[in-house]
Symmetry: C2
Amino acid sequence: MRRDVFQAIADPTRRAIIGLIAIQAMTPNALAEHFNTSRQAVSKHLRILTECELVKQQQKGREIYYQLEVQKMKEIDKWLSRFRKIWETRFNELDKVLSNIKNTKK
Amino acid sequence: MRRDVFQAIADPTRRAIIGLIAIQAMTPNALAEHFNTSRQAVSKHLRILTECELVKQQQKGREIYYQLEVQKMKEIDKWLSRFRKIWETRFNELDKVLSNIKNTKK
DNA sequence: TATTTGCGAAACCAATAGGTTGCATTTATA
DNA sequence: TATAAATGCAACCTATTGGTTTCGCAAATA
């Protein structure tokens, strides 16, 4: 099934994983210690994150280090940028209104 | 059940709805015409968007206009900002590497 | 007033999500 | 070499999701 970045970040545990491995690469075992779930559950999350290329793996002996693919996060940013324009415009309009009030008060 | 902005934007139809009502407020019927689903399904999506305050309603007679609460989108932006710092830093480091290569070649 | 229109809510349903436990496999270690 | 550790994968289970159809209600309209 085709995974999607937005669906990937929908789950709070996955967002937490992303937050952790953004700092430094971590193994599934190390990650699992941070959550109240089994290692296998964490592995499932990592699989989903890998499928949508938010995460890459690096094998070191019998350990696998997972690291965030920060570039992929830009996809969310890209989608958001459109709305960022809107809220900045809205804010500017509010700013105008406020300065008008200010001016008429003078 | 407590709804979450990230869960709300996970669904592609909901993202499309957000995109539409960002431009101008729309009724459920008008929205439903854009999708391959029933009006009731759209209404369900609107309910979810309303629950997490991504959307506000304005009644006009028997019609209800739904509009995007752009401010709420900032919540996503806020979460993202942390990673934006990282990808900007990484980019700068790459930039340094590149300029070093350039300099040693001179 | 009778009918149509726009809507939300409820009941239902199949598919998916997220968790578990129980393997098998590969690598490190005693 | 035998054992322990780190991991992925499959089978299974329950709750949730996203859709449908049916209904009731309020507002517009004939």
